[in-house]
């Protein structure tokens, strides 16, 4: 049985009822089992004082991971990029803080201790080194897995890319090549959730985390109402004859329909695994945390407006739209 279980049976319930104090959290920072010298190391700590300015002028509070220190950092959190076969350390520092977090590398499948799910291992209180091996090239992301419903909504995620041995420019080992690359992590905000405390609801208080009513729709941290149409972090400029790889991540909680403005995508894989045969599509309908690797080889110059529709999880109606562009010269 898992070595920490008995301790958590006794200590797992902390604080008291109501919305003050955290319940069902598992603070610890043990030594990493079988720790070795890694091929690559990422340092991450937490900021909880960030904000994103929306196109309507409003500011929405966000949390995330930084490469060091607690100063408000970028949103989404800085990407991790490694090469297939490397042994990776994600050194996560959460020392002396009033809050708990973890890092779950979504789609990476390590040992229980390194999977970053609080109630199966621990919420990091101190510094923990997640050790894992990048077995399969592809598109992943990492996110906090403590009070996940709130922490991932608050923005605690970043891209995670595993290149094949050939390096950037090739999607999978022996697989398709690309010249231009974009990461579109599409997410929706319910700004009414963004004033909650890190442990909101964990003791059983009804804080409305069953009911997401999004009012902002983003692509890779940029408001999709207007800004993402031209923001260079999202919008793509390329030339005819080039091949574009879009690493599309559904980073929200709702179904999404992404439509490529009349371009056809050749989808080569999903969730870090190549397909037996690529599929050609003009749109994709996805759900939370799915990733799709889409290659475009446009033959005609033009401006292609990409739309991401965020869908009601019951009736599929469109709750909001984010837009960006692929400019082909």
């Amino acid at each position: 049985m898992f070595q920490y279980l008995e301790k958590y049976r006794k200590e797992g319930r902390k604080g008291s009822g109501g919305s003050s104090g955290a319940c069902y959290v598992y603070p610890d920072a043990p030594a990493t089992p079988g720790i070795v010298t890694p091929d690559v190391t990422f340092e991450r700590s937490v900021y909880m004082n960030g904000s994103v300015t929306m196109d309507d002028g409003n500011s929405v509070r966000v949390w995330g991971f930084t490469e060091g220190g607690m100063m408000a950092g970028q949103f989404p959190s800085p990407a991790m990029r490694v090469t297939e076969g490397q042994i990776v350390h994600t050194v996560f520092s959460n020392n002396g803080m009033m809050w708990l977090h973890t890092i779950h590398h979504h789609g990476i499948e390590p040992s229980t201790e390194n999977d970053g799910v609080g109630h199966y291992s621990f919420d990091v209180d101190g510094t923990y080194t997640y050790q894992w091996k990048a077995a399969h090239a592809g598109t992943y992301f990492y996110h906090c897995h403590t009070n996940t419903v709130l922490h991932a909504e608050m923005g605690m995620y970043g891209a995670l890319i595993i290149d094949p041995p050939e390096g950037p420019g090739t999607l999978y080992a022996g697989g398709p090549s690309y010249d231009v690359e974009a990461v579109w992590a599409c997410d929706e905000f319910d700004s009414s959730w963004h004033s909650l405390d890190w442990d909101a609801g964990t003791c059983g208080a009804d804080v409305g985390l069953n009911d997401l009513n999004p009012d902002y729709f983003l692509i890779t941290g940029v408001d999709g109402a207007q800004s993402a149409l031209t923001d260079p972090r999202v919008a793509v400029s390329m030339n005819r004859g080039q091949r574009l790889l879009v690493r599309y991540i559904n980073a929200g909680y709702l179904p999404q329909r992404i439509t490529f403005g009349g371009l056809s995508a050749e989808v080569h894989g999903s969730d870090g695994r190549p397909f037996p045969r690529p599929v050609a599509v003009t749109s994709l309908t996805t759900h939370s945390a799915e990733r799709y690797d889409c290659i475009f080889a446009p033959s005609r110059a033009g401006t292609y407006e990409v739309t991401v529709e965020y869908l009601d999880w019951v009736d599929g109606s469109v709750l909001g739209v984010a837009r960006t562009r692929i400019e082909v010269a």
């Binding site: 003791c203 179904p255 999903s270 969730d271």
Partner: protein
């Protein structure tokens, strides 16, 4: 009018369900089709949610003194004649429907009816009450119905990738306001806002909670939901959505082989860690391969991991209580 006896789903009812189901679905192929005879009692009662709230429910139960949500799972073989006797112990009209296979038509309160049909559609299905749709189905009148290919014990459909074990996961949501309207014979009149999320009728518990580890209550330990295996114990999971919301199903530690969606075999088997589950009786069929977790260093063959929905609203109960939603445990033994 008959005085209603409200039942409570508890250890007795769940234990009965497990005796009928044998935990995970057990199956031995037969050379010939057979006649399968079952009786289902339409019952009502209350289920206790993780925050202590009792919610009204109806069920297709194995006995008339039991509330059993979802109804006891069926597993039959292609070509079998299935004879189901439905005893409606309530005062309201209900039915027994498997789309494309059988529709009993309305069964009035107090009535008993037997339907016979041929199980001619291989794969994973939901049986449900088609009356007062979708409300009767949503308050609990649904269950899993698996049809094995003729003479096969290890395939989803003839020629599919093979498995060693199989499970049926019936997922649903609960909006208690809708259940209360149905209890009072009225039509729900509020926006659908589910507050509880269940897999085979249960939600997750975690260490520190008094019900943690209780297989009658904790979806992480219930043997019909918990995936438990050693390396190589390839497990077919028939994922059925009795609810109204589209969900995202996320497996930790292994990618699954995605065999079918809404009963349709897929042209190519994709390996996925996260899959979109269609709503309103949609389904997915996947094989969890129980391979060593590929990114572990040093390599491991044992461990404990979650399967949970990634539309994380489903990981709550009563608007909070993260970790007490629709999830289960994957145990590498």
């Amino acid at each position: 009018m008959k005085r209603r006896t409200f039942l409570r789903a508890g250890a007795a009812g769940v234990a009965g369900a497990m005796a009928g189901a044998g935990g995970l679905l057990a199956w031995s192929p037969r050379a010939h089709a057979a006649t399968v005879t079952r009786t289902l009692y339409i019952t009502e009662g209350f289920t206790t949610q993780p925050d202590g709230v009792d919610v009204y429910a109806r069920s297709f139960a194995d006995a008339d003194n039991r509330l059993q949500v979802p109804g006891a799972p069926f597993i039959v073989q292609e070509g079998d004649t299935v004879s189901v006797t439905i005893v409606n112990t309530l005062g309201t009209t209900h039915s027994f429907v498997i789309p494309g296979m059988v529709d009993s038509g309305p069964i009035a309160g107090g009535e008993t009816r037997t339907v016979s049909f041929t199980a001619d559609r291989v794969g994973s299905h939901l049986y449900h009450d088609g009356e007062n749709a979708p409300y009767n189905r949503l308050v609990g009148l649904h269950g899993g119905f698996a049809v094995m290919p003729s003479g096969s014990g290890d395939e989803l459909y003839a020629g599919s990738p093979t498995f060693r074990k199989q499970y049926t996961w019936v997922m649903t949501e609960i909006d208690p306001a809708w259940h209360e309207r149905v209890r009072n014979g009225r039509t729900p009149n509020t926006a659908y806002t589910p507050r509880y999320f269940t897999i085979n009728g249960r939600s997750m518990r975690v260490p520190g909670h008094p019900d943690y580890g209780n297989p009658d209550i904790d979806a992480g330990y219930a043997p019909d939901t918990r995936l438990s295996g050693a390396i190589g114990d390839r497990s077919l999971v028939r994922i059925l959505n009795a609810g109204m919301a589209m969900h995202s199903v996320h497996f930790h530690a292994n990618h699954v082989e995605w065999l079918a969606r809404n009963g349709q075999p897929r042209a190519d088997v994709w390996r996925k860690d996260t899959l979109m589950l269609p709503n309103d009786m949609g389904s997915l069929d996947v094989i969890y391969p129980f391979e060593p977790p590929p990114d572990a260093w040093p390599p491991v063959t044992t461990g404990y991991y979650p399967m949970h929905l990634h539309d994380e609203m489903t990981q709550t109960a009563g608007g909070g209580f993260y970790q007490f939603g629709l999830a289960t445990t994957i145990a590498f033994k």
